[in-house]
């Protein structure tokens, strides 16, 4: 167990790589109760979120979800989050644990003038995620709905494992899977029910360590590493999220319109040659250059691919796939090639 954003979190249960492989080949169960859950409700909820976030939640169909960001007026990223439209005038926003309080405060401020109310349910809501190719068959007996009819990136209020839940087909692993938002009091029941129900199908508990290597293989950014206030969505390779087409103003619009064509840096995926592992904070160089041109933001030895992978920021004109770079690992240069992300994509 380690402290993480004020929570005590399991880094690993049986072992990081075993848990990682279980998620890729069968299924893993994650306790993500640290994540934030903020409900926005009211006739003005859609318009309020259109103003508060860079995407257009107002255009989401009921029952659907999308990946979004909340930016500051300068276009810097305050957090990345998932927005679920649970009803015509009811949304759930899921920020990172480390930013939940800040996001809640920023949303409250941005809701002023809209007919919408904010309810920060973080401290009474748990999140249990089941992720992996066998997630559907393991979860199916414990819900009334036919899971094959639930689309990726959707979220609906229903009963699951005998308790009220928001059941969402989302995740942070690059695999198919579900996330169950339930009350704190019901979380243990959900955890035990799924773990027991999935044991003979290879389901095992998975910790923060596997969550990090899985999301990295899937090319998903992590706030505090790839994303920060000093980074715009364009620099993070997520400019497609910014909805300039939506009517009305939104926080950060002016700055993002200016930043769109002037990225100061670019996030790239790197494939390392050799067995040494590039890690957060290591410097990136143009071949044989004396001075660094960028920084590694995440890196690991990929359990699925068998070689070293990393994400990092480089000068904006050095992001072309195939480009050769170097990473300094303990005073020795390792060559690294810019490769497309995700590093890993599931086959189905």
């Amino acid at each position: 167990m380690i402290p993480f954003a004020g929570w005590e979190m399991p880094v690993q249960y049986k072992g990081l790589v075993e848990e990682h492989r279980a998620v890729r080949s069968a299924a893993g169960l994650f306790d993500l109760s640290h994540m934030g859950e903020i409900f926005i409700t009211g006739p003005g909820a859609a318009a309020a979120l259109d103003y508060a976030l860079i995407t257009a939640p107002g255009k989401l169909a009921v029952g659907r979800a999308h990946y979004s960001m909340i930016c500051d007026v300068s276009g810097g990223i305050l957090d990345d989050l998932i927005v679920y439209r649970l009803g015509d005038s009811r949304y759930m926003v899921v920020p990172n644990a480390s930013n939940a309080a800040e996001v809640s405060a920023a949303l409250s401020e941005r809701l002023a003038g809209f007919d919408a109310e904010l309810d920060d349910a973080t401290m009474r809501t748990s999140l249990v995620a089941i992720q992996g190719p066998r997630a559907v068959e393991i979860l199916q007996p414990f819900v009334d709905v036919d899971l094959s009819t639930i689309r990726y990136y959707s979220g609906t209020e229903m009963r699951a494992c005998g308790v009220p839940a928001v059941l969402a087909r989302t995740g942070y692993t690059g695999e198919d899977g579900f996330e169950l938002f339930v009350s704190w009091d019901d979380a243990l029941r959900v955890w035990d029910t799924l773990l027991e129900g999935g044991a003979d199908r290879g389901l095992i508990p998975a910790g923060l360590g596997a969550r990090d290597t899985l999301r990295l293989e899937a090319g998903m950014p992590l706030y505090g590493q790839e994303l920060s206030r000093e980074t715009t969505p364009f620099e993070a390779g997520l400019g497609r999220l910014v909805s300039f087409a939506k009517p009305g103003d939104f926080v950060g619009r002016d700055a993002l319109e200016k930043a769109k064509d002037h990225p100061r840096k670019a996030l790239v995926g790197l494939k390392l040659s050799g067995p040494r592992v590039a890690r957060i904070g290591y410097h990136v160089y143009l071949p044989a250059a004396a001075e660094p041109c960028g920084t590694v933001t995440s890196g690991t030895a990929s359990p699925t691919l068998g070689f070293g992978i990393a994400m990092g920021y480089v000068p904006a004109d050095r992001n072309a796939v195939g480009g050769e770079l170097e990473v300094s690992i303990r005073d020795q240069r390792a060559s690294a090639q810019v490769v497309p992300m995700p590093f890993y994509k599931r086959s189905n």
Binding site: G15, L16, V17, R279, A301
Partner: protein, 128 residues
């Protein structure tokens, strides 16, 4: 926890098996378990000098990188080439096929100052 009685131990979780002036060195089962899934072991060159308490190599795991600290000073007379190709040996057999380097000790007093198995057991008990 496997802590063989016939070995000496450093507080940085390396073991040492002395045979006259020669000593084999590896990491303890406790260390291997803490480090987790090992993907790469970087060892010094044969003939190089190592100094007690100073880093002589690193172990890369999926999640982290850990330095290896020499339990004694001396000259490296052999390295375990097998762990370069099969780093998982360090986890599977930390006291056997997963040994790391062999040192020709320059100061016998250094090995005498290391912990015995009981002392190392106490150290680990204090960490858990």
């Amino acid at each position: 926890m496997d802590i063989p009685d016939n070995l000496k131990y450093s507080s940085e979780h390396e073991w040492l098996a002395a045979n006259g002036k020669s000593a084999k060195v590896g990491i303890t089962g406790y260390a291997a378990e803490q480090i987790g899934d090992i993907v790469f072991v970087e060892l010094p060159k044969v003939g190089s000098m190592v100094t007690a308490g100073v880093s002589f190599g690193v172990i890369e795991a999926v999640k982290s990188v850990s330095e290896l600290f020499a339990p004694v000073s001396g000259k490296v007379t052999a390295i375990n080439e097998r762990v370069a190709k099969e780093p998982e040996l360090v986890t599977a057999a930390p006291y056997g096929d997963g040994w790391l380097i062999e040192i020709e000790m320059s100061d016998a007093g250094e090995s005498a100052a290391l912990k015995d198995a009981a002392g190392y057991r106490d150290l680990i008990a204090g960490l858990q």
